[in-house]
Subunit: 383 residues, 2 copies
C-alpha cells in the first residue's frame, strides 16, 4: 500500500500568546502550507485537533472558521478530540483520510488557547477528562503522577533525583528551540528545591499551561516528490486505550495504552524499539518519560531512570529523547502537543533542527491523553 507522506510542517511560538485559538491555528496552518508549497484551495480535508475551544473560549465550529480563514473552502473539516492526546489522534485521522483515498491532500492543525484562563479554571477543564469519582475525591492527574512516581521510585530503587534529571535534560534541549515556552536551563538543585505539588513531584516536574499551534500537510507518498524533495513518511501509526478509572489498573507504572499502540505501530512500520533513533515522549510529568521509554521497549522495565542518569537520552546519547524540550520546556497546548512532536521529528529527519540536530533516520512520537487513558504512537522515517 502507498504510504502517507508529510510534505510540510510548522509550529507557532508556544507560550503566553495574545491571540485567540483561530488566529493561532491560522498562523500554523498557513506556515505549513507555505512549507509544503501549496495553497488553501489544494486542501481536500482539514482536521483540527483541539480538546476544549468551547470550554476555554466559548467558541465552537473552529474548523469551519479555519477553512474560511485559510481559503480552503469547500474542504471537508472536522475537530478531533482525544483530550491531551488530541494531536496524536489528529495525525491518525489525517493519515486515515489519505490512506483511505478520501483526501489527496490533508492539512492537520492542532492547537489550544489556555493562558487567558486562571490556572484553576484551566485545570478544572483538564480534570473533566478524569473519572468523576476519582476527580471528586481529589485524585486529579498530578495526584496520579505523584502516586505513580512514588511507586516507581520504590519498585525500581530509583532516587528522587532521577526524576529531576528529566526536567534538567528537557530544559537544556528547549534552550535551543526557538518555539519553546521556557528557554532557560535549570539545574538539578532548582528542580529539587521547587515547591512540592504531589509528593515526590515538585513544580519543575510538571509542564506549564500553554497557548500554541502546530500543523502538518499530508499526501500519498507516491506524489510527495511532486510537491517537494523534503518530506518524511509515516511508516507506523496506531492508538489504544487504558482504563478510564485509573485505580482499576494492575500496576500504574505500566501504561497499557503505550504498550498496545507501540506494538501496533512497530508492526505496521516493520520496526522495533532498536530501530528508533530519536523520540518525542509525552513528559507532561517527568515520571511519564520513564514509563513511556520503558513501555515503548527502549529500555527494560525499571531501567528508564538509569538511561536518563547515564546520558543515554541526551542529544549526544544513543537515543535522544525530547530534543524539542518536550512538553516540560516547550509547553503543552493540549491539541497542539502531538502535532508539535511530529514537527520536531520532521525537522530531525530532514536535518533542519539547527542546534538541536541529532543523527536520525527513524523517529517515534508518543502522545498521551489523561493518565495514559488514550495513547497514540507514530513512527516517522526518511523516505
Amino acid at each position: 500500500m502507498d504510504r502517507v507522506a508529510i510534505i510540510g510542517a510548522s509550529m507557532t511560538a508556544f507560550g503566553d500568546r495574545d491571540a485567540w485559538l483561530l488566529a493561532l491555528l491560522a498562523e500554523a496552518g498557513d506556515a505549513a502550507l507555505t512549507d509544503a508549497g501549496v495553497d488553501g484551495d489544494d486542501v481536500d480535508h482539514l482536521y483540527v485537533s483541539n480538546m476544549a475551544s468551547g470550554e476555554f473560549e466559548g467558541q465552537t465550529g473552529v474548523p469551519n472558521a479555519l477553512a474560511h480563514d485559510l481559503a480552503a473552502m469547500p474542504a471537508y473539516t472536522a475537530r478531533i478530540d482525544q483530550t491531551s492526546s488530541s494531536g496524536g489522534a489528529g495525525i491518525y485521522a489525517a493519515w486515515q483520510s489519505v490512506a483511505s483515498g478520501a483526501s489527496d491532500l490533508t492539512l492537520l492543525v492542532g492547537g489550544e488557547k489556555m493562558t487567558h484562563r486562571t490556572t484553576g479554571e484551566a485545570t478544572d477543564v483538564i480534570a473533566s477528562l478524569t473519572h468523576p469519582v476519582e476527580y471528586k475525591h481529589g485524585v486529579t492527574l498530578p495526584s496520579f503522577a505523584g502516586l505513580t512516581a512514588r511507586k516507581y521510585l520504590a519498585q525500581y530503587d530509583a532516587p528522587r533525583e532521577s526524576l529531576g534529571k528529566v526536567a534538567v535534560k528537557n530544559h537544556r534541549n528547549g534552550l535551543d528551540n526557538p518555539h519553546a515556552q521556557f528557554r532557560k536551563e535549570v539545574d538539578l538543585e532548582t528542580v529539587l528545591d521547587s515547591p512540592m505539588v504531589a509528593d515526590p513531584l515538585r513544580l519543575y516536574d510538571f509542564c506549564p499551561i500553554t497557548d500554541g499551534s502546530a500543523a502538518l500537510v499530508l499526501c500519498p507518498e507516491s506524489v510527495a516528490a511532486e510537491y517537494t524533495d523534503d518530506y518524511v513518511v509515516i511508516s507506523g501509526v496506531a492508538g489504544a486505550t487504558d482504563t478510564h478509572v485509573v485505580h482499576e489498573r494492575d500496576d500504574p507504572t505500566t501504561m497499557r495504552g503505550v504498550v498496545e499502540s507501540a506494538e501496533q505501530a512497530y508492526e505496521m512500520a516493520g520496526r522495533g524499539p532498536d530501530d528508533i533513533d530519536v523520540a518525542e515522549l509525552h513528559d507532561m510529568f517527568t515520571i511519564l518519560e520513564f514509563l513511556q521509554s520503558e513501555d515503548l521497549g527502549f529500555f527494560e522495565k525499571g531501567a528508564g531512570w538509569k538511561a536518563v542518569r547515564d546520558g543515554v537520552t541526551d542529544r549526544d546519547g544513543d537515543l535522544p529523547i525530547n530534543t524539542s524540550g518536550g512538553l516540560k520546556s516547550k509547553g503543552h497546548p493540549l491539541g497542539a502537543s502531538g502535532v508539535a512532536q511530529a514537527y520536531e521529528l520532521y525537522q530531525q529527519l530532514l536535518g533542519t533542527a539547527g542546534d538541536r540536530q541529532v543523527d536520525a533516520e527513524v523517529g517515534l512520537a508518543c502522545n498521551v491523553g489523561g493518565f495514559g487513558n488514550c495513547v497514540t504512537t507514530t513512527i516517522l522515517e526518511q523516505p
Copy 2:
C-alpha cells in the same frame, strides 16, 4: 476497492432522558454491538460523535470512558466534532478507519445530552458555532433560518403554508417511530398558529432540544457476511464546508456544502439523485428540507416546496423524505442526529422499518452543521 458495510445499528429513545451522555452512548453502543452479533472486545476503533459534552455536562474524555463501559479496551477511541453534523462526520471517520485498513471493526456512537440545561443555556452553546460578529449582533441560527425562509418564499413564489407542510409530514412519520421525541400528529393550522420565532418561521418550524444516542457497527464488505446476512453498504460518503460567516454567501437559499458533498458522494457511489429511493434530510428548521432537497438534485431549484405540497416526499410518494420523522419530530441530539439518519436508512434498506417501511434499495442522508457551514452526505445501499 472493498466497500465498507454497516452490520449493526441502533438508537435509543430520543427525548428528555434521565441519564448522562455516557449512559446514553453505552445504551446505543451495546444495542448496535448486539445487533451485529459482536462483543466489545471485537472493536478495533470506537468513535464518539458529540459536539459539546464538556459544555453541556462538564465531562470530557467520554470516548475513553465508553471504551471502558463497553469492555472495548484497548480499542482506539476519539471524539469527532463537527457541531450539529458531528454524526455525519462520525460516519465519515468510521468509514475512513475501515477503508484505510486501520480497523477491521469500528463502532461509531453519536450522542448528546442537552435537556438538563435551560433552553437559553443550550442555545448559547449551539450559538457558539456561529461567527462571533454575527452572533453578537443577534443573528443566530433561527434568525438565519427566518431570513432565508423569507427570501425563499419571495424568490420562488411559495406560500407560507408550504413550510408548515414539512412539519405536518414529518410529525406524521414520527408518529410511527417508537424512538421519536414527539409522537403526535400536528395539523397545518396548529403549525401556522404556533408562536412566532423568526418571521416567517414559527415554533413548529423548529426541531426540539433532545437527549439521545445512535450507533453503527462497520466492517469491510468482504467480511460482512461472516457476521450477518442483514447488512447495508456505504457506497458514497463525503463532506464539504461553506462560509463560517453566513452573510458572505451569494445566495443563502443555496447550501454550497450540500451541493459539494453530494457531488462527491454521488460520484463515489456511481449514483445520481434519480437513484435515491429514500432520504433523511436535516430539517432542523422546515426551510432546510426545501433547500437540501433541491441542492441534492432531487428537485429543481425552487421546486422543493411543490414536491412537499404534492405529496412526492410522503411515505407513499415517489421520494419519501424523513420517514423517521426527521429532526423535527424525532428530535435533534446534536452528535446523534447524523448517526440516527443512517439508522433509519439501515432499517428502510433491510425492510425492518415497521409501519414506516417504504420500498427502497438506495438511501441518502444529509447532515448539516451550523447553517450549512459544514455538511456530510452519505449514500447507503443494499449489498
